[in-house]
Symmetry: D2
Subunit: 131 residues, 4 copies
């Protein structure tokens, strides 16, 4: 399996089979998968805390650290795949749709080279952008 | 685009193109993408907080709520795709590898129907499983 | 030290002294403390994932589990104390202010017995509440 | 209310009264409060994403941004107070205990000026530190 050849559905099926073999589908309520996702993201962030960007880059030059991070990201993806599958959500279609919406919020001419949230440049004069 | 036909690489390229058009690659340091992932997961969890599992199920019977959740999950996937891409991580290969490792930690005969962490049934007699 | 007698400043000073003794203040940049907070919250959530509310309640009837959870919550508090301290934020004053603002958003007569976000009952007819 | 004079119990009582007035205690199951905490931390992290440490420092030189961050931190504290209260956890005692345990894991002579996790310097020769 590799990114160039593997479809999202094949990945969904891989983790679905793992759950079915262990009778774990019963635990995969949406809320619990949401909780699991937050746990996995915490483990991703362990790779970054108390490190400057340069220190992160240095650490990630070591293949052993990249492999660890790859496993943490795989865990996040695993949960996203399960959560979308139990909710009947097509991830590729949703991402495409979200990218199209983001393109409207972040038009190239306004967003070019700016990391700000879109509310910063959509504000009417004198207006405030509520969180 | 849909899960049955779209490869992970195609999704990576979709969001990479979005970043390139806006000159946003400069902001996509691994640590910042990790931070972004935690932000997006918080938005996923907004759909579940202070709701019982039954209330979540009822809410997700409404296509409008499923669509909102689909967009939040798409945002999480977006960040996972970017973070793996900037780190040169192949997600499908990493997930396959992680599933194989998980199969060793959670053998079917021990894990069947049990949601516990593997440390629960790997503990030696009298031992303690440290987090 | 106990909640009835200990002030927030005493707790801030406890963890500040710990950092000073180890020359750790240099690592306590606000962003890193934010990252650390997400890590610690992930560990709190480990206590809840794949457990129903009844199973959580049963687990928390065991003092050993309560003590573990207490330590995870203490870690979250630790980071909140450090982050507020490095930013010069008075937590008690901020909480009091936030509670007053919340009382405006969630007036008793509208919010009584309802877990919804305030946007649900503030929406004008036909309006939409944006996330 | 301010950090120098306000005890943790007074803060717990402040947010408990808010919940009681609105009959919200019924929603404050431990798992839901854990979910809420992850949501609030996501909002804290919004202040840091795609910003370098210097850009964060510049933003936090603006009192309006500090006030926003103070409110997000107050929200985190609010949830930590509620979660500890519903579980009968004394936060000050737990933090004191956790600090004492951390002092054993991170002895000054080993941890001085080092941000590493304790497992890095506790490993036996040839040993591995499992996550």
């Amino acid at each position: 399996m590799n990114d160039a050849e593997t479809t999202v559905r094949e990945l969904k099926d891989l983790v679905l089979a793992f759950s079915r073999e262990r009778a774990w589908e019963q635990f995969h309520r949406p809320k619990d998968l949401g909780v699991a996702l937050a746990c996995e993201v915490g483990e991703v962030l362990e790779h970054f805390r108390y490190k400057t960007d340069d220190e992160v880059a240095a650490a990630l030059a070591d293949p052993a650290n990249i492999r660890e991070l790859a496993h943490e990201l795989a865990d996040c993806l695993w949960v996203v795949l399960r959560l979308s599958d139990v909710c009947g959500i097509d991830l590729a279609a949703s991402l495409r749709e979200k990218v199209e919406l983001a393109a409207l919020k972040y038009p190239v001419e306004k967003a070019y080279g700016r990391p700000d949230k879109y509310t910063r440049y959509q504000e009417p004069p004198g207006g405030t952008a509520d969180a």
